[in-house]
């Protein structure tokens, strides 16, 4: 109990519980201090961005310097369902100045009045960007209203092992869907958003199926495409579906698959590992996607509108373009500004080369007629249900 034993000197070897507990409490207090200090500086205006991580920089410092704003970024998944939930149900516009979301969502959320139209006159660098990009159907609502401003874009196809395929580019999507060479060694992305339009594009160009717009199919068109995919699945064409970036790299690295409709940075990673993998130039067209900036209606007026205009100009500016090109191999709507910035900042030669290569690639691919990725097709429920049928088959 609490009696003191006076026969022994009160020296304890090793640690006592009490000492450990005291140390723990003190340590926790020290750890908690920085978060308290960080609250005390809010002189520069802050732009609060919520968006997909693909468009996020890992360091916003140069963007902040260029715009004179402080960036507060909240990451979300690239998923139309999540966009809807955040914007509609969660009323994120109350606390967010700019959304960065996959283009196409404005057809729904813009038309319903959740986004405010963007005035190009207020954004520096808008006129320097190609009009064909800025007026893309992925940035404008169904009535042609400019709800989105293109931020990051690319044109996706598929990755493949040239030694297995043994053909010269441009290649056909047949390698993904209908080829003896790749039988049982194909992986498709586990989403209707990319895999269904790619299959539709293949069928349309091959003349096997009449399809109007691969990225905005009617229920009957979607059914026909999924019938084809189910038949190919039963024939053993597909090995598996992939869901994450790492998974797509892993499947290719171990040669479990030899063709895969993955994202282009995966090829970058694979080549870094010394694998001879290429990203196809195709006959039929590309999954042309963009991530656009959208302005919630709450942020379109007053002081917030000024912050928004500065931030939008930043996304068309040089600092952002140069960084995102090196980081992901993606171009912005004003990619040339990125090149100018990189040269002015004396960035490494290899980075400048990759920025140049990006610009050339985008120009070549965006000229292809088919097709624009569309996160909000008219018959979304039917398309989702058909995709589910393919997954369960």
């Amino acid at each position: 109990m609490n009696g003191h034993d006076l026969t022994k000197p009160p020296i304890r070897a090793g640690l006592s519980r009490r000492a450990v507990l005291k140390g723990t409490v003190a340590g926790a207090a020290v750890l908690a201090t920085p978060s308290l200090i960080g609250r005390a500086q809010a002189a520069t205006p802050t732009v609060r961005i919520m968006g997909v991580e693909t468009a996020a920089l890992d360091n916003w410092a140069s963007f902040e310097k260029e715009t004179g704003l402080k960036v507060e970024f909240t990451g979300i998944n690239s998923d139309p369902g999540i966009f809807r939930q955040e914007v509609v149900a969660n009323a994120a516009g109350e606390r967010i100045d700019i959304f960065l979301m996959d283009g196409g969502i404005e057809d729904e959320l813009g038309a319903k009045g959740f986004f405010a139209p963007i005035d190009p006159a207020k954004v520096k660098g808008w006129d320097a960007a190609p009009a064909s990009v800025m007026n893309s159907p992925l940035a404008q609502g169904p009535d042609g209203k400019q709800f989105g401003m293109p931020v990051v874009m690319n044109a996706d196809s598929f990755a493949y092992y040239p030694e297995v395929i043994g053909e010269a580019e441009p290649l056909s999507y047949a390698l993904l869907f209908e080829s003896e060479k790749t039988l049982g060694k194909v992986s498709l992305e586990n989403t209707w958003l990319t895999s269904l339009p790619m299959a539709a594009t293949y069928l349309k160009v091959a003349g096997k199926q009449a399809i109007g717009d691969p990225s905005n199919m009617t229920p009957a068109e979607a059914k026909a495409v999924v019938d084809f995919l189910v038949a190919r699945k039963k024939a053993g064409q597909f090995r598996t579906l992939w869901s994450t970036f790492e998974e797509s790299i892993d499947l290719m690295a171990r040669k479990e698959v030899v063709a895969i409709n993955c994202w282009e940075p995966a090829v970058k990673e694979l080549r870094k590992q010394g694998k001879d993998v290429r990203y196809a130039f195709t006959k039929e067209g590309y999954n042309k996607w963009m991530i656009c900036a959208y302005v919630p209606k709450e942020a379109a007026t007053g002081a917030r509108a000024e912050i928004v205009a500065k931030a939008l100009s930043g996304f068309l500016g040089g600092a952002y373009a140069a960084q995102i090109a090196v980081l992901r191999g993606y171009a912005t709507a004003n990619a040339k500004a990125g090149l100018a910035y990189a040269e002015a900042q004396k960035m490494p030669a290899e980075d400048i080369e990759s920025i140049k290569a990006n610009i050339a690639k985008i120009e070549k691919k965006f000229a292809a007629p088919l097709f624009w990725q569309n996160a909000a097709p008219t018959n979304i429920q039917a398309i989702e249900a058909e995709w589910e049928r393919f997954r369960q088959a």
Binding site: L21, V52, T54, G75, I82, E246, A253, Q273
Partner: protein
């Protein structure tokens, strides 16, 4: 007055060992193998994670050549630090709340007449899928009450998720607590607070700490409910989940960060067990 659940305090005589029969020995071997298999099943993947975190090519499937590149990347791109600190803070608050409120209920529950039905009511949330609980809370708080979601709603969801586990951990010790000790202390003139602080709490402390640990760990790893109730809050699982759809590699996050978190967790749990059970009571 309920019959006590613990035995008397006389020292036990050593029981006579009965030699085990053959069947029993075989069963013992099976049990030992099963136990060992379970440990391998649990720890091998974690070890593998650690090995892959220092491999140059973790997605190639085989370890080596060895490098610290991923840890380097983790410390140059430090966007995960904010979410990690938030998750730790949220976990601590949930853990403390679970331990404190669970203690109130767990002390009273064994002595109530309706303890069976009440316990069932407390444990029922265990059988509700996370997404459903999240969706229900979301519809109620955001759509029906029109509240602005944030850390408070994340806390609420985590608390509702962890509470039954914490309560179970606490009940293990509170049902074994011999209330006659309190009566004896009262007889000797101790007030209610003294009785709790000097007698009851030290004896049920392992349960309290376990409850707090449960609360912390369940909150720290929670995703399904958080997705719906986050507002603009970002926890570490949410950050990793959003990263999973970004067009860039998260190997540093997956392998290196997970290994670090694992090491720290093991250390924490080791220390807490040592505090609880490891050392003889000091004078």
């Amino acid at each position: 007055m309920k019959a006590p659940l613990s035995g008397t305090a006389t020292p036990e005589a050593r029981p006579v060992r009965v030699r085990a029969g053959r069947l029993e020995r075989h069963l013992g071997l099976v049990a030992a193998l099963g136990g060992f298999g379970m440990i391998v099943l649990t720890y091998a993947p974690m070890l593998w994670l650690g090995v892959m975190s220092v491999s140059a090519d973790p997605l190639g499937g085989l370890p080596g050549p060895f490098t610290l590149e991923w840890y380097d990347r983790l410390f140059t791109d430090r966007r995960w630090v904010g979410p990690l600190v938030s998750s730790l803070g949220c976990g601590v608050v949930v853990g403390l709340a679970c331990a404190a409120s669970g203690l109130l209920v767990a002390r009273a529950l064994p002595h109530l007449r309706a303890r069976g039905p009440l316990l069932l009511a407390f444990l029922a949330p265990l059988f509700i899928p996370g997404v459903l609980l999240g969706a229900g809370l979301f519809l109620y708080l955001r759509v029906f009450l029109g509240l602005r979601l944030g850390w408070w709603s994340v806390f609420l969801a985590h608390f509702a998720w962890a509470y039954p586990f914490a309560l179970l951990a606490l009940l293990v010790t509170t049902t074994r607590f011999d209330t006659r000790l309190n009566d004896a202390a009262a007889d000797l003139g101790a007030g209610p607070w003294r009785r709790f602080a000097d007698i009851e709490f030290p004896l049920i402390m392992p349960g309290v700490v376990s409850a707090a640990l449960f609360g912390f760990l369940l909150s720290f790893n929670e995703l399904a409910r958080t997705i719906l109730l986050r507002g603009t809050a970002t926890t570490l699982p949410l950050f990793e989940w959003a990263q999973a759809t970004s067009h860039s590699s998260n190997v540093p996050l997956i392998f290196a960060l997970a290994t670090l978190v694992l090491l720290v967790s093991l250390l924490l749990i080791g220390v807490s067990f040592w505090l609880l059970f490891g050392r003889a009571e000091e004078r």
